[in-house]
Symmetry: C2
Subunit: 440 residues, 2 copies
């Protein structure tokens, strides 16, 4: 399943910054203004009517990660009555340090054969403009259901580029780590959830917002690309358990305790030294689909489940005591002389040997339709869409995954079935588009 651990969390106070929101009140068009054609029923109807959009209110709180970037947004608990807006344009893409929204869909697209560099740029511009509109609560360019664009519910659209896209846009500019991950012994990868030339990560607190954005972005893509895979995920709704800042996965574990914060977040995600110039203020994302066998997991007693990770289920504290964010004592032994946190425990295995081997995880649960009929009837099709951001996949992600592949008791109940790596370009300036650096 998850890589829940990094090095000790950075407890430095995050720097808060106050930005004013970037939301705009779109013009309200009288519905009478769109009554330009009269449809005779039974006959054909054509064309797109003019569109009206409802007004929006911009969120203006500092982001939860406390970063200085452009991702000014509300925290995890938007107030009733406000349509919360995360800015789209800025030096870095939104949807990374943005506090995780309740719903996400990940789309993996393949370029159509013969797509030209010029057409690729046109597609990225179209996607960027529609993403910019939708995230601000405005309809997409050819939006036929403009009312569904109102109330963006912290919608973000984050772009990731696969090797073929970078090669077409700017041959030779792909970083060394932009390739499939090395094969791991635990992997049982399915092509249906692996690879892809373009990633679109669409997140919002409202499932209808995600559905509408997905549809608009896929319509934009029809002439340029084919859909390779879709993964739909969710977290606990923001307000259901405000006491828990770290989300829980379907194993019931608090998942993400050791994520870097503050200054560590900056280093882990955005890097700095050795980065390709076009990836300044960019990063990388690894998306792995991890099937979780809830049935065999349920055969384990509670203590066993806590020992798989080395943390308490109730509050995420290390088994050596304290609270969620306290340091574990790996040398502690119990009365029988066994380590309190086992050698094979996930938290011990995932912990990097080197401070530079850290990643920022932003995972989602998935829970597709259970098995119908037959002996397996009702068995769940559940797991985690593992999503990690890091400046360098080879330096940060791969060593952790190698250790987990060698030994991690959690592997007993989890199976990676999908895997993809993307370069995440910087954000777009207003008037430009995501990936423009590759077309200069």
């Amino acid at each position: 399943m998850s890589i829940t651990e990094g090095v000790a969390p950075d407890h430095g106070e995050p720097e808060h910054s106050e930005h004013s929101g970037d939301g705009q009140k779109p013009e309200q068009e009288a519905s009478g203004g769109v009554r330009r054609r009269h449809l005779l029923f039974g006959g054909a109807a054509a064309g797109l009517g003019a569109l009206a959009a409802a007004g929006i209110a911009a969120g203006t709180k500092p982001d939860a990660a406390g970063r200085k970037g452009q991702n000014t947004e509300t925290g995890a608990a938007p107030s009733a009555g406000a349509s919360d807006v995360v800015p789209f344009y800025g030096p870095r893409q939104a949807g990374i340090e943005t506090p995780a929204q309740t719903h996400a869909v990940f789309l993996g697209l393949d370029l159509k054969p013969g797509l030209t560099r010029q057409r690729l740029a046109a597609w990225l511009r179209l996607l960027s403009e529609d993403a910019a509109a939708l995230t601000q609560g405005r309809p997409a360019l050819a939006d036929t259901e403009p009312e569904l664009a109102a109330g963006p519910a912290r919608l973000t659209v984050t772009f990731g580029f696969g090797p073929a896209l970078v090669a077409l846009a700017s041959p030779g500019l792909a970083p060394a780590w932009l390739r499939p991950l090395p094969a791991f012994g635990i992997d049982r990868l399915e092509p249906a959830y692996s690879g892809g030339d373009l990633l679109l990560q669409v997140c919002a607190d409202d499932p209808l917002t995600v559905a509408h954005a997905r549809r608009m972005l896929l319509k934009d893509s029809r002439s340029f690309a084919t859909l390779r895979w879709t993964q739909t995920g969710f977290l606990r709704a923001a307000r259901s358990n405000p006491a828990e800042e770290t989300p829980r996965n379907l194993f019931g574990q608090l998942d993400g305790t050791a994520n870097p914060r503050g200054g560590a977040f900056e280093r882990v995600v955005w890097g700095g030294e050795g980065i390709e110039p076009w990836l300044k203020d960019g990063t990388s994302v690894v998306i792995r689909r991890i099937a979780m066998n809830l049935d065999t997991w349920d055969e384990l007693d509670r203590r066993g489940r806590e020992e798989t990770v080395g943390r308490r289920l109730s509050d995420g504290a290390p088994l050596t005591g304290g609270t969620e964010h306290d340091e574990p004592d790996f040398s502690a032994r119990n009365s029988l002389g066994f380590p309190v946190i086992a050698e094979s425990a996930h938290m011990r295995r995932a912990r990097p040997e080197d401070e530079r081997q850290r990643i920022f995880r932003r995972p989602y649960n998935y829970d597709d339709a259970p098995v119908t009929g037959g002996a397996e009837s009702g068995v769940s099709n559940s797991g985690q869409i593992f999503v990690s951001y890091q400046a360098d996949v080879d330096r940060q992600f791969v060593p952790i995954q190698r250790r987990l592949d060698e030994l991690d008791i959690l592997n007993e109940w989890t199976t990676p079935v999908g895997s993809a790596v993307f370069a995440v370009p910087p954000g777009a300036r207003e008037g430009s588009f995501v990936g423009a650096e590759l077309f200069d």
Copy 2:
């Protein structure tokens, strides 16, 4: 698609009643108390540990339908910091007049061959007890992820009985309408979404709550039944657009404007005269899966889309003017002499000829994974889980559906692909179970 219309909405003020919530603070069990077994990794682990659950707060506002029944709950916008609880026990089942939650899953189960009447009662008791616990934010009996039960987010579990279940429990007691609907010309029904012996409608504002409840209820069912179908749906999240009380479907329409309210709701849903004694305070539910062809819908201009239903897309007002809940003027004609609301418009066709032909709709959107690869790549798999409650299917639902089958311009873009009818028994008294009336 939808049956969006009934007779003129009843604008009588709903009767509000104040109940105190039924939530209970479960005992907090120290996590140390569950460390009863030590797991040696590599060996087998067995048994279920003792479980701890987080505390909950009970919602105490009147329900949005303003009814006097037991469904005391918070409105559509629960406040931050509260885990909102809908009572399970009471004269009528929850999840019907309960203001629609954001997420729903509908499970259609078939009794295992040879299941005895006694075993059926045991299953219903088990499901009732776990539904009672989970809806109140307490773990299910064999809950292995008790933390996921905290924060029930207005969870409701509503039971429906198919003909075979009633026949096994009490032969001869099935009402005449408890059978598959008559065949309609527009239907393209798939067995994968039709029929079933037991319906479980699981709704909550949190997708993780729904996932956990589904899993617990399906685990309860393994010895007794097989899963026949699953349908997962959603609405706009409660707070994203508080100005709109009526939800929007994926066609962008306000959907449910003419739902009965106040006294009309009571008559439509709970009936009275002629009801089987065991169904007093019960009702019926029709669940139809309606595929919506968003692609051809998009070829229609906005005016055409408005004329399919006879309402404005922006605010749901009839095309003859006014606001959402105003009466349409079916005699009005435009300057060309055509009716402003066409003869084939959905709202005109759906409107009952008879006040007794009304239904209460509680639908959800579905938006499953789009087509991957090939010429249809990216085409959506979307529609509506049509859910209607009415005291008598034959008297209330069938005449409306007959008229829509004969003529309804919306049929051009919608296709029913699933259909099921269930009797909805009354609620359970504490200590008893849903359906106990059939075992007296």
